[in-house]
Symmetry: none
DNA sequence: CCCAATTGTATCATTGACTGATACAATGGC
DNA sequence: GCCATTGTATCAGTCAATGATACAATTGGG
């Protein structure tokens, strides 16, 4: 269900966060669902448990998950759809985004690779 | 002509390479054009001369520039679109994605709104 | 009630990429 | 030949990412 690339230049933690965001955004994970314990997921993916824990922490800080020691990590929010905005403006921005993503696909990038790049850019643009 | 962000999380060298690629791809730099000496450009941008030299070197290795000690750096090819190096390609695509998302933010869209639009485009581009 | 298993968290060390300071080497004009 | 200009090489410092390990809280079985 969750796949990451150990050889990618994209940090493992970022890849994992992107994967989890994708699962939540696409409904593969719903409110109330339990996530695997950090040790189990870390073992399955072949990475350190801290890397998983930090990914969980990042999404917890973002308000998507909640973690309780000894109990586990649960989905508590599935990010909502956008509210109204001028339709033209949305179409324009969406077209630019679509062009950029199309470029990414033509360049040979997979969906998850594109998602990882998107996460990095969102981090840079909205959170720094 | 060349602008980079000192506070960005994207490495300066990568930003500079992307900028130079952009100038070459858009015809702002043509075959035979001289690039600024590494020290001058470094001084203009407020960064280390090595960072500029490494960016030049990267594009030289890619076959777009030629550098001769004591003489300078010149554009020798404007047609090349290397598909070979996934890492370089990734940074190029990431820059385009970043520009699109920056546009979205300037247009007033929130992070979650941007994510929703991204989901829609990914659905369209990769899954249909 | 205890204790052991389970689970997330905190701390410290290591590694590698990025950047910079400085010295070196080649080219060309005078 | 000299020297200013230009790219290159070498070394060091910083920081993010990752990992190894120990700690702390919760749960459930006896």
């Amino acid at each position: 269900m969750i796949t990451i690339s150990l050889s990618s230049s994209i940090p493992l933690q970022d890849q994992l966060v992107a994967e989890l965001r994708r699962l939540i955004a696409t409904g593969k994970l719903s409110v109330g669902d339990d996530l695997p314990p950090v040790r189990q997921l870390a073992n399955d993916l072949g990475i350190n448990l801290n890397t998983v824990a930090r990914a969980y922490r990042e999404l917890t800080d973002a308000g998507l998950l909640t973690s309780v020691r000894g109990r586990g990590t649960v989905v508590i929010d599935t990010t909502e759809r956008p509210r109204g905005k001028p339709n033209e403006e949305r179409k324009r921005v969406e077209q630019i985004l679509g062009a950029a993503l199309t470029d990414a696909k033509i360049a040979g990038f997979s969906e998850s690779e594109a998602r990882a790049m998107i996460e990095r850019q969102i981090e840079r643009i909205w959170k720094s």
